[in-house]
Symmetry: C2
Subunit: 194 residues, 2 copies
DNA sequence: TAACATTTAGGACAAACATCCTAATTCAGG
DNA sequence: CCTGAATTAGGATGTTTGTCCTAAATGTTA
């Protein structure tokens, strides 16, 4: 096998990942990706049989990346409450990207739902990764009964913040909501753990 | 002027409005709209100089429709708290559409932001219509200081519910969140009005 | 009815698109 | 070095797109 043989596929996925986030899936052409990677357009069909196949690879890559990220977070602190705060703060840390392109998970799901793409069911697994991790942290922090429900709620709160911040390109609103959400969660944790 | 002359423009806008919501703006072609209206593709450019112009007309039409809708709500009851509940319940009333196509306001803004369309600043005026109305109702119900901030928060809560319900196609989650949001708002109103 | 303006249909157009095909290039193993 | 497989480049193809053009059809006015 050739030297770059194994990595070219990964480079295509990385470029597609970023372009799908920045420009949307439908709005990104093979030419766009090829230009970024620096290969010819036709060469694509040796590595991916269709555009759907690249989307599939991008979704898988994101899921893997998110799982790795959450593992890193787990190493940063053993305190589940701090972990939950770190999750919510993610929006502040990525403020520029959120303002410009929205949430990479939510905006892709929104687009796939709109064009009735069959891979929406795969895309929303990106949400599930975070939901399951949030559920675990909430249980660790003492939320017994409604941990799963509360984690879904937290996903929605994050999506709301991202969508509105993105629509208004309003950084101040983003930070305000992030702060408010952390305070609300602290109270909720207190209530739920008696 | 011909009989249908005045209404054809409106019929085109109505068809585009619905298709943009169901399939997205970029994913809707002139042919799609022409097929629904029942006119020839080329005939478009007599009524609209470009696709951007149709988008502009659709956004204006939606803003007008939303304002009319809010006026109807104002007539339904004079109780601002009931009006706020009626706003939140809108998601339940439109459950099928939300599950299938998301929020017509949020999903369009998300798409326009993604393709860096210059009319995003016009599209988010749809949000502003609701925000201003919410601010008025909140002030009427006794929220003095943070009425505008709270109305922005309500927009975001709605967007979060729509985005996640749409991504998971989860009707139960939608209703659960709607109920929870109304309860939370009642408490918030109590707190804010001393 | 005649002359004029408005409205419509239908095709022409170039650009962009996903996909396919083929020939050239590069590699590993003998 | 030779050979066959893996990899790549670049063009061909057919479709769809937004936009434009022109002539026909329809309405209005005199």
């Amino acid at each position: 096998m050739r030297n770059k043989g194994g990595t070219l596929r990964l480079r295509i996925i990385a470029a597609a990942d970023e372009l799908f986030y920045q420009q949307g899936y439908e709005n990104t052409s093979f030419s766009d990706i090829a230009d970024v990677v620096g290969i010819s357009r036709g060469n694509f069909y040796y590595h991916f049989k269709s555009k759907d196949e690249i989307l599939d690879a991008v979704i898988d890559a994101r899921i893997t990346r998110f799982k790795e990220m959450l593992n890193e977070w787990d190493k940063k602190t053993t305190d589940p409450k701090q972990r939950l705060h770190y999750y919510i703060d993610m929006q502040s840390r990525n403020q520029e990207k959120i303002i410009s392109h929205g949430c990479p998970v939510g905006s892709l799901c929104t687009e796939l739902a709109k064009i009735r793409h069959f891979m929406l069911v795969d895309a929303n697994k990106m949400f599930t990764v975070f939901r399951d991790w949030l559920t675990t942290q909430l249980e660790l922090v003492g939320v017994k009964k409604n941990a799963k429900q509360l984690s879904m709620h937290l996903l929605a709160r994050g999506q709301g913040i991202a969508t509105v911040s993105n629509a208004f390109e309003d950084k101040a609103f983003l930070h305000q909501e992030v702060t408010q959400l952390k305070q609300w969660l602290d109270v909720e944790i207190l209530k739920a753990s008696h």
